[in-house]
Symmetry: C2
Subunit: 374 residues, 2 copies
Amino acid sequence: MLKFELIHQSTRSGARVGRIHTPHGVIDTPNFVAVGTNGTVKSLDSRSLKDIGLQLMFCNTYHLMLQPGTEVVKKAGGLHKFIQRDMPIITDSGGFQVFSLAYGSVADELKSRGTKKSDGSVLKITEDGVWFRSYRDGSKLLLTPETSIDAQKDLGADIIIPFDELPPYHIDDDALAESLERTHRWEERSLNHHLKNPNGQAMYAVVHGGVKEDFRKKSADTLSKLPFDGFAIGGSLGKTKEQLYHLLSYTTCRLDEAKPRHLLGIGDLESIERSIPYGIDTFDSSYPTRAARHGVLFSDQGHTKISKGCYKEHFAPPIEGCPCPTCAHFSAAFLHHLFKANELSAYTLATQHNLYYMVHLMERYRSAIKNNEV
Amino acid sequence: MLKFELIHQSTRSGARVGRIHTPHGVIDTPNFVAVGTNGTVKSLDSRSLKDIGLQLMFCNTYHLMLQPGTEVVKKAGGLHKFIQRDMPIITDSGGFQVFSLAYGSVADELKSRGTKKSDGSVLKITEDGVWFRSYRDGSKLLLTPETSIDAQKDLGADIIIPFDELPPYHIDDDALAESLERTHRWEERSLNHHLKNPNGQAMYAVVHGGVKEDFRKKSADTLSKLPFDGFAIGGSLGKTKEQLYHLLSYTTCRLDEAKPRHLLGIGDLESIERSIPYGIDTFDSSYPTRAARHGVLFSDQGHTKISKGCYKEHFAPPIEGCPCPTCAHFSAAFLHHLFKANELSAYTLATQHNLYYMVHLMERYRSAIKNNEV
């Protein structure tokens, strides 16, 4: 079972250093969680991933349900064994994908002025759950709190997420209130279903409420009464970063400090820096790995777009002074060349760099918090 | 400089075990040479490649001329330094790509009944060299024996190839005779240009003559009189495998046994098995790596197409008993899943397996030859 050890609370902010103990080892917090949607971080093999020292990997139940099917993973002996990972894994409920494929992102919504609600794959939302159409074969599928948890039991991740509804950003208060109540009922059903057979897994509640302070507080208070092992901040996190930080300012302080707090789907460097002082412990995002595949390398001095012409004859490391396996061995010019030549190894080398950067950035945040500098 | 050490000559056939010493280490022969067109074996980083123990890598001058440009590689300190490889490299002259882009493969020719000669990128062949159009930006470029060798000097591979003409398979005897004479003149010019500044590099002659016995013999005899360091069997190697084996039967025996012999562009398992008894020392081919990216895994029992439905729940290794890093760690079901989910790591894992298989297959051939079993 999960155990959260609070090691240091900053005297300067809500930032804290902790250690999450799971059946597959420790996660030092604050930490970054790489996304491995299909059970693999894109373009990395598990050995490279292990060398980088990434402690927690985020896999998507929705994708694994459709391919290879969670029953296949179960037969393999669970996700850790199937993908040969001996470190912690977290899975989501599948709800996020189902709803975000239907509603699109906030940016999508803004482009279509908030009217795009009907052309997604969600067919019907009932008290029981959500009917949706598979993006793979068009088949009609029902996802409920119970089926989501069953799927996550098949996968066997160390940390699992209850089934929730992701309402669109543009929603009126009545509809959001209704969605929030339903989400709370779904989360409680998920928890009850999970607790029939905990099997060493931990479940984080997902705090909803969009960008409405009273709704967020209500969600935090409601879910705090239930025996969840930790909290994830989910739902619509606003259309601007300031909305996110504001939302965190009144949400995390209501959560039991003895339990870990995860921020769902946020992993850009600025948001991490600004969210840590509110006591966020873990962040998952596909941004560092996706950026890498577009040739964008992270560093303390900002982002480097390695395919830019100025790197053609730059024979120094891609990021000067970086000790990652990519920068330690290869020049910016070589990485530039691999991107220009569309070589697959370009993605591997860039992904190694960005993940290494994230892992060590979080390590530095932990030191800084211990010194009460954050 | 290159030194070839003949270790054992089979008492049963022309097969032999040797060792090619180069400035970047040893190549045990017979051996397989992986293709890393743009300076990287597709989908592998250099560390994985090193672990596999691949002793010789084949890079394509034509591609490197166009991207990043051989002058960039020269400024980087040569190809070994640019790609961070400390083991031997061979480069070709660029001629093969220029001509094969123009004429297509034998298969292409057969489809268009041998008439497809004009819609390629070759603009004009003169005594000086060949004018062609860059596939990257449409610019007009001239490749001559001297410019090809200059480019290969910039790259600095351990073994280089003289500039030659690749005539189409369908060609009348007069045209082939004319092409053969020109190729011999071009090869001699290449050699002379190379010898002005050998710089530790070795040059293999390319024996031409298509599938005509008298032409092949003439080519072998003509080139044998020149101080090349080894031989490559090139040009049209026939449209059937039997034509290839027949061609080898009368060609290799005319070549100085004290020099290494390379078979250009042939690397399927059957051709390797059948060519070794004619005393071929090295084989380059993109087939094992390309097959891997299509999910085809090599084994002694034949090819395994891992995306086939029967592997969905096959939790044993992809190839039972294979000690490669892929088969030692992952199941067939996981690799099947990665291919189905279009994950880039699928290509990496499959490529690791096939290259490992090739390296160890060649090791077994060397043992068998030493025991006079081949």
